[in-house]
């Protein structure tokens, strides 16, 4: 007699080594597959309590959305406020912000690759347990992290939740000498970034490809971080002001984070892989060469390779930070603000992808409306879509643990930040 196969469930409670709190449930029935990412991170209501706060606090509060990319949140916040007030910050301010944000992206990638991703492929529960056996990796991790954190510390005051970044500038401009010593610090760790790319490029990723729409910011002259236009790998580009028209945010009943979709097109991917796929041509030649060395070719449709894309961005970011540090001749500037009412939206490339902050200010500079969309919200639908494809491809009834492991790896490859996503 034929037996009806039981629907199998693979579930992971409180996924470790990601930022924030989520469970994963994969239900495998006869015909269909049901995937839910239950982001149970409690909501903090930033969009709620930012209403009524003043423009000069918004940056400091905004940076507390995320403990791993506070500088990105802060910069986006400040840019949104400036947009609302019609302020165009000085080239020096933009220069320093780009530097800070890039340093942040590199630092965040380093943490993700070494602390969160690597243990999976080396068979350890965590990086701390791994450290004693992997002397070189440990050193690379610590030294690179240190060099990038120093950038935030010297320019921003502290690496996490910096304090010198305010609306229309910096409360203190670093001295040329300290910029140069930061640059020296980066020179020292640059070879380690190469080693990192080789290490990450060599990891045994599952053979897996999914058709994906990638979206990132793109700028005419530079590898876009804080300025640019939305660009899709499937064609099309929109200005930042068109964000509300092109993207929709939906609440789902099983997660505290909202899901963001491209109007009329559906899920899409943002982050390192999206950026590299779309802007590979804008990399420095050295980075392009490095990509070749680790056999990375664009376009790449394997989401696991987001890790490799991050490794390349580490190298690229360090070169660019070095350029920014050595090319600036710091001038004294005082951040002056003339309060004006109005709406303003800013979009930047945070480590994990597109980050959107939008505020409406009244004539005293007090927030009347706040809207935040984080990279993980943008990726949310796509992660589920990829998980589904992964389960379809790799599910073996006699070895469910293999799939479970692959699912975890896939989620981590996206480097999601659930704390941010539920802000």
């Amino acid at each position: 007699m034929d037996q009806q196969p039981e629907p199998r469930t693979i579930s992971i409670d409180y996924l470790a080594r990601v930022e924030g709190e989520t469970d994963l449930v994969v239900k495998i029935g006869e015909e269909d597959l049901d995937i839910t990412l239950k982001i149970f991170e409690p909501p903090r209501f930033f969009e709620g309590f930012l209403v009524g706060r003043k423009y000069d606090e918004v940056g400091d509060i905004g940076s507390r959305i995320c403990g791993i990319c506070p500088i990105s949140h802060m910069t986006t916040t400040l840019q949104a406020v400036e947009k609302a007030m019609g302020i165009d910050p000085s080239p020096q301010t933009k220069h320093l912000r780009r530097l800070m944000c890039l340093a942040q992206i590199v630092a965040s990638h380093i943490v993700h690759l070494y602390m969160f991703a690597l243990p999976d492929y080396f068979g350890y529960p965590g990086f701390v347990g791994m450290m004693p056996r992997f002397e070189k990796e440990k050193n690379n991790f610590l030294h690179m992290k240190e060099a990038m954190n120093r950038v935030g510390e010297v320019i921003g005051g502290r690496a996490l939740n910096p304090i010198s970044l305010v609306v229309n500038g910096f409360t203190q401009i670093p001295a040329k000498s300290s910029l140069l010593s930061l640059a020296q610090g980066i020179e020292k760790v640059l070879p380690m970034a190469r080693e990192t790319a080789h290490l990450i490029g060599r990891l045994p990723y599952p053979d897996f490809k999914v058709d994906t729409e990638f979206i990132s910011l793109r700028h005419q002259h530079e590898y876009a971080i804080n300025e640019g236009v939305f660009t899709s790998s499937k064609g099309g580009s929109w200005s930042i002001d068109e964000y509300q028209e092109q993207f929709i945010e939906e609440q789902v009943d099983y997660a505290m984070a909202k899901k963001c979709l491209l109007k009329g097109r559906g899920p899409f991917m943002v982050g390192a892989l999206a950026r590299v796929n779309i802007k590979f041509d804008q990399f420095h030649e050295e980075t392009k060469k490095l990509a070749e060395d680790v056999c990375f070719n664009v376009p790449d449709y394997n989401p696991f390779h987001n890790n490799v894309a991050q490794a390349l961005e580490i190298y690229e970011g360090m070169i660019e930070c070095h350029r920014l540090l050595t090319s600036l001749n710091p001038q004294k500037e005082k951040p002056v603000v003339k309060i004006r009412s109005g709406p303003g939206t800013a979009v930047t490339e945070a480590p994990r992808g597109l980050l959107v902050h939008g505020y409406t200010l009244n004539q005293r500079g007090i927030v009347e409306k706040a809207n935040l969309v984080t990279p993980t919200s943008h990726n949310f639908a796509n992660i589920e879509k990829d998980l589904k494809a992964l389960a379809e491809k790799f599910y073996q009834p006699d070895n469910p643990d293999d799939l479970k492991k692959k699912c975890e790896q896939l989620i981590r490859a996206y480097d999601p930040c659930f704390s941010c996503s539920v802000h």
Binding site: E19, P43, F45, G48, I61
Partner: protein
């Protein structure tokens, strides 16, 4: 003396940005020396596995308590822990999540979500509203000096002497010109707990109290002074409700200029 016993560590994250956990991980040059002395029992962001039953020598809590399950777990963890320290402003003072406390919860939920049925959120509370704590590592993110003090104290087997004076002390030790007097900026330094090394004033910026109040701070007197300096009532109110709206010391300043519910 057997000093090399490894400390059984648990780290629990509640409602916050996880910055303090990163501060722990990023502990710069000291990370190796520190982790040599630690055995991780529960630290979800750092390692998979691990039980919340402990037993722990040291538990660090980051984040404010905003849902009932967190309070339940916290109470269990407290029982399994020899020492329990809240780390960072959210856990110590309610922090940024507690900004919402001066508005009704329902109003908050409606501002952010269309459907509010799945939400179980409550007002944000610091850890010591629910369980006894053995000290506070203040800061946003938590301060390195106090963290070093906590770890060396554990290794030595002594009670940690956390920094408990005002930011002004550190500011004067550094020789910064006082921003409140010299630049007439509304600096929160005089009522804020030190530990940051007077960071903001050293960068030419008024302290915005991210470490929360020092013990026995006279917030009312400072609020009056701000009023004399020409600040609007709502500006003063916001100053005292940004990072520690839960703490009595700051509520005294805020209450004069707005409702803290």
């Amino acid at each position: 003396m057997n000093r090399k016993k490894r400390i059984r560590l648990g780290v629990f994250k509640y409602t916050c940005c996880a910055g303090c956990e990163f501060q722990l991980i990023f502990f710069q040059k000291k990370i190796l020396e520190i982790f040599e002395n630690l055995e991780i029992i529960y630290f979800r962001m750092g390692e998979s596995g691990g039980g919340e039953e402990g037993p722990f020598d040291l538990v660090l809590i980051d984040g404010a308590i905003t849902e009932a399950w967190q309070a339940d777990q916290l109470k269990k963890v407290r029982q399994a822990a020899k020492f329990l320290l809240p780390i960072g402003s959210c856990a110590v003072n309610g922090g940024i999540p507690a900004i919402k406390n001066s508005t009704s919860e329902l109003e908050m939920e409606k501002r952010v979500y269309q459907q509010i049925q799945p939400l179980h959120s409550m007002k944000a509370h610091p850890v010591d509203d629910y369980v006894k704590v053995d000290g506070y590592i203040k800061g946003c993110p938590m301060g390195e000096k106090d963290l070093v003090e906590a770890v060396t104290s554990l290794l030595l087997g002594k009670r940690a002497n956390f920094i408990n004076y005002s930011v002004c002390v550190e500011c004067k030790l550094k020789g910064n010109l006082c921003l409140l007097i010299a630049d007439k900026l509304p600096c929160m330094g005089p009522v804020t707990n030190a530990g940051c090394g007077a960071l903001c004033p050293s960068y030419g910026r008024a302290c915005y109290a991210c470490w929360g109040p020092m013990e026995d701070a006279n917030s009312r007197a400072l609020a009056w002074q701000f009023e004399k300096m020409g600040l609007e009532p709502d500006d003063i109110f916001r100053k005292f409700t940004q990072y520690a709206s839960n703490k009595l010391e700051f509520r005294k300043g805020a209450q004069l200029y707005g409702s803290t519910t």
